[in-house]
Amino acid sequence: MPIRRRALLGAIGWTGLISGLHGYLNVSWPAVLNGYLPEEKRKFNVAYIPVTCHLACPVTDYISKFSEAGEIFLPRMFQGFPEIKEALIANKMQAAFIVAPLAIALRSQGVPIKVVYLGHRYGSAVVVHKDGPVKTFPDLRGKVVAIPSRFSDERLILFRAMKVFGIAPAEIRLVEMAPPDVAGALAAKAIDAFSMGEPFPSQAEMGGYGRVLFHAREYWPDYMSCVLVVQEDLIKRRPDAVQILVDGVARSGLWLEQGQKYRENAADFVGRFYYNQKPALLQWALTKPLTRVMYSPLAPRKADFDMVRDLMIETGVLDQKIEFEEYTDLQFSDRASIQTAWKYEPGTSSAQ
C-alpha cells in the first residue's frame, strides 16, 4: 500500500476511534436527544451539586426511573454555585437547586426565576479542627472560615451566631470556597473552620480531623438552605411539568423520612450513581442521627424567607427589599401537599 494511502487510512481510523470513544465516554446522549424532542415532551434540565441539601434531586430521578411514567427530568451535576448561576442566567438550565439567598439575589438582579419548593431542612454545620484551639464560637475571632458563597445560608448562620456572642462581622475572616474543597483544606490546616452543608461536615468527622462546633439549627431553629428554583417562562408554558417535578421532590422527601432503611438505600445509590462519593460517607450524613438533615416539610414559608432577606440586607449582600411574593410561586407546593411517599422498596425494580 502506498504511504499516502496508509497515512490517510491511519488518520481516518484514528479520528473514528477517538470520536467513537468520545461519544461513548463523554457525551450524555439522553441530554443530546432530548433537545430534538417536540417541546411538550422535552424533559428539562435540573442542576444540582453533590451535597445532601440537594439529595431529593437524585433520589427523585432514581426512583422515578422505576415508575410507569419513567424519569421526570434530566439531572445535571455541577461542582459549585457560580456555574449553576451562570447556567440559569443563560437559560441553559430550566430548574436548579441553589442556596436561598442566591435565589433572592438573582431575582432582585432581574433573573426571571421563582422559588417553588425547598430542598431540605437542617443539614448544615460549622466544623473546626478536632483538637484545635477553637473550643467555643467566640474562639473563632481572628480565624479564617470557609463558606460556599456570599449568598449562602451557611454564611448567615455565622452572622446569627456572631450576634448571639456580640462579635463584629470584621472579626472573622470569611473566604468563599467550592464545597468539595473545604474538607481537604481543613485537613491541611489551610482554614480554621468551615460552614457547609452535609456531607462535608460528616467527611471531616469521619476523617478524624474535624469536629462539629455547632449544627445550624442551634442558632436558627427552622433552618433551610437550598431551594428549588424554576425559570418563569417554564412556569407559564408548562405548569403541569413543573407540578410533576415538585410532586416528585415532595414524594422523595416523604420517602426519605420513612426511616433508617430508606436512608441507607439512598446513600448507596446516590453515592454510587450520582455524587461519586463513598456511600458510607452519605450514610453517616443521613443517619447520624436521622434528624441531621430532614426532607419534610418542604413548602416555602414567608417567615423563613423574610428572615433570610433581612439578614442579607443587614450583611450587605442585598441592596433592596424584595417581597416574598415576587420571588416565590406557591401554587405547586400547595398542590404537592397532598402527595404521599413513593411506593418503592429498596432492592425492588418498581415504583409508584
Partner: protein
C-alpha cells in the same frame, strides 16, 4: 506594508489604535444585535470601570496583582537563572534533570492549586508560589539553551585569557547567553501575568484575578468581569512594552538582528 518599508512616525500608534477602535465597534454592535442581557457592552464595562475607580479599588487591585507577580517572578528568576546556568554548563547534569523539567513544565498552575493550599494555606504565599512555578520553567529552559549555545570558541578564548571558571561565567558565558535568556525571561513574565487569575482564585481578597472571581460570585456583574479582563490585558501590554525597552540596552542589543 513589507518589513522593509519605511514606517512614518505616526504609524506605530495609529494602526493599533484603529484596530482597537474597530474591535470596540464590533463588540458594541455584536452585543446590540444579539440582544443579550448577560454579556455587557463596552459602555457598561466603562461604567463598571468607573465604579471601580470611584471605589478606589482599581489601582489597589492592579498594585496588589503586580506585587504578587513581581514576587513570584523575581523568585523564579533568582532560582531559575542559576539552575539554568548550571544545567547549561554541565551537559551531564542537564541529561539527568531535563526529563523531570519537561515533565513538570506542562502541568497547569490550576492543577497545582490544591498543592499550593496544602503547602502555604490560604495566603499570598500560595498565589506567589503558583506564579513562581509558572515562570520558573521557561526561565530555566531558556537559560540552559542560551548557555549551551555559546560557541565553544568564546569559552576557549576566555580560558586563554586566564579567566577563572567564575570569571568565565560572569564575563563570557552570561553576556553571550543573555539575548536568549532575555527571550525566556520575557515569555516567563507573560506567563506569570497570565497565571494571576488562577493564582488569585485561592481566596485572596484583592487583585485583578480576585476581581474576576469576585465579580463572578456576586451574581450578575459581568461588566466587572470584563472590566477586570481588559485591565489584565492592558497591564500585560504595558509590562511587555517595558520589557522590550530593556532589550534595547546596549549590553544585549547585539543579540537581536533587527536592532539599530
Amino acid at each position: 506594508m513589507t518589513a522593509l518599508a519605511q514606517t512614518r512616525s505616526w504609524e506605530p500608534f495609529a494602526w493599533p489604535l484603529l484596530t482597537a477602535a474597530l474591535l470596540l465597534l464590533l463588540w458594541h454592535f455584536g452585543v446590540r444585535q444579539s440582544g443579550t442581557d448577560v454579556f455587557p457592552s463596552p459602555l457598561e464595562v466603562q461604567r463598571g470601570t468607573a465604579e471601580l475607580i470611584r471605589g478606589d479599588l482599581l489601582w489597589r487591585y492592579i498594585g496588589d496583582s503586580l506585587r504578587r507577580v513581581a514576587a513570584g517572578y523575581l523568585a523564579a528568576a533568582s532560582v531559575g537563572i542559576p539552575c539554568g546556568l548550571l544545567l547549561g554548563w554541565y551537559p551531564a547534569a542537564a541529561q539527568v534533570a531535563n526529563p523531570v523539567i519537561q515533565m513538570l513544565r506542562p502541568i497547569s498552575p490550576i492543577a497545582w492549586i490544591p498543592v499550593a493550599i496544602v503547602l502555604f494555606g490560604i495566603s499570598d504565599l500560595a498565589a506567589i508560589y503558583l506564579i513562581f512555578l509558572a515562570a520558573f520553567f521557561p526561565i530555566v529552559v531558556s537559560t540552559m539553551d542560551g548557555v549551551r549555545n555559546v560557541p565553544s570558541m568564546y569559552r576557549r578564548a576566555g580560558r586563554n585569557f586566564g579567566l577563572s571558571p567564575a570569571g568565565l561565567i560572569a564575563r563570557v558565558i552570561l553576556p553571550a547567553a543573555l539575548p536568549r535568556m532575555l527571550v525566556g525571561l520575557r515569555i516567563a513574565l507573560g506567563i506569570a501575568w497570565l497565571v494571576v487569575v488562577a493564582a488569585e482564585m485561592i481566596a485572596s481578597d484583592s487583585g485583578l484575578g480576585y476581581l474576576v472571581i469576585d465579580a463572578r460570585n456576586s451574581g450578575k456583574r459581568y461588566d466587572l468581569v470584563v472590566a477586570a479582563m481588559l485591565m489584565i490585558g492592558l497591564t500585560g501590554l504595558a509590562m511587555d512594552l517595558a520589557f522590550r525597552q530593556a532589550e534595547k540596552l546596549k549590553s544585549i542589543r547585539w543579540g537581536f538582528r533587527d536592532a539599530h
